[in-house]
């Protein structure tokens, strides 16, 4: 919290005669063992941008987790229909219709575009995916996934420079 806010004293604030309009958030705090009350401030705009940045990150994560749930739901749904087909509750034509309705077209996604998606997916979930699973979930070909996996370690190193030390 202290890294987030800038600490100033009230004296500093009141002894700046040239100060124009300002828009800050102030936090007043005092430790139990101390007699000193601290007022820390932060530009409201900076605070808002940090919140918006966090919101954008969360939105991407939620979208990604939503994709995982939808993919799992679709597989469950399809396997239920397969069970119904095996038990002769529906015939082959009806099963084919279900498959047709659930089928997706393979997209020409550039491998580089899905590298961060796969990286984040592996961080957010603990499932053990195969490349076919990822292709199925991300609606692309397995070749695209394989290319993306080849690029992923370099992406992780770029995103987390501390990994270079680990590698060295």
């Amino acid at each position: 919290m202290t890294d987030f806010f800038k600490t100033v004293t009230t004296t500093e604030l009141t002894t700046q005669p040239n100060i124009g309009g300002f828009d800050v958030l102030a936090r007043v705090s005092r430790a139990t063992s101390s007699n000193v009350t601290q007022i820390t401030t932060m530009e409201t705009q900076t605070f808002v941008s940090k919140i918006l940045q966090l919101q954008a990150e969360w939105k991407d994560d939620v979208r990604l987790l939503n994709d995982v749930i939808n993919w799992q739901h679709k597989i469950n749904d399809f396997n239920s229909s397969y069970a119904a087909y095996l038990l002769e509750q529906i015939d082959a034509d009806e099963f084919d219709k279900v498959a047709e309705a659930l089928a997706y077209e393979e997209l020409d996604t550039p491998p580089l575009a899905i590298v961060p998606v796969i990286g984040r997916l592996l961080e957010l979930t603990t499932l053990d995916y195969t490349s076919s699973d990822l292709a199925n979930m991300l609606h692309c070909s397995e070749d695209t996934i394989q290319e993306a996996l080849g690029l992923l370690p370099h992406h992780l190193i770029d995103a987390h420079p501390s990994l270079i030390e680990v590698l060295e």
Binding site: W71, K74, I75, F78, N79, Y82, Y85, L86, A92, F95, D96, A99, E100, L102, A103, Y104, E105, E106, I118, L122, D128, Y129, T130, S131, S132, D133, L134, N136, S141, L149, G150, L152, P153, H154, L167, E168
Partner: protein, 132 residues
């Protein structure tokens, strides 16, 4: 011929699949076959054996695939597809101690040995470390 390395594959007009955990994945409109394909996944002692060879008119998914009748792949995880819905599952003795699920595919069928993405990434990471 029998193969069990990651990436090894078989292709035929019918395959016999054997495993202890069989599931279908989402169906795909495949660019390769230009039509709907049923994707499947075999877990725990998976086998895929060619029972009918690939029709001459079909184009192979992988040039390295095994294509002769009786050719077989074996792996803990096998993924693949068939252009027609897989047939009914039967459960029978696979070894003296365990039973297994048997499923036959129809239409152009492909199956390949895979490993988990996390294991694969670990292997790639190790190769990068080795190069440095």
């Amino acid at each position: 011929m029998r193969a069990s390395a990651v990436g090894d594959s078989v292709e035929g007009n019918a395959l016999m699949l054997q495993c202890r955990k069989f599931s279908l994945q989402g169906p795909i409109k495949s660019k390769h076959t230009k039509g709907l394909v049923y994707t499947f996944k075999l877990n725990i002692h998976g086998f895929a054996t060619i029972t009918k060879e690939l029709a001459e008119t079909s184009s192979k998914v992988s040039e390295d695939s095994l294509i002769n009748e009786g050719d077989e792949i074996h792996g803990e995880t096998i993924n693949g597809f068939s252009t027609k819905a897989p047939g009914k599952e039967t459960v029978d003795h696979a070894t003296s101690t365990h039973k297994a699920t048997f499923v036959s595919t129809r239409g152009q069928s492909f199956a390949t040995v895979q490993i988990g993405v996390r294991d694969q990434l670990q292997a790639i990471q190790k190769r990068i470390e080795h190069k440095k």
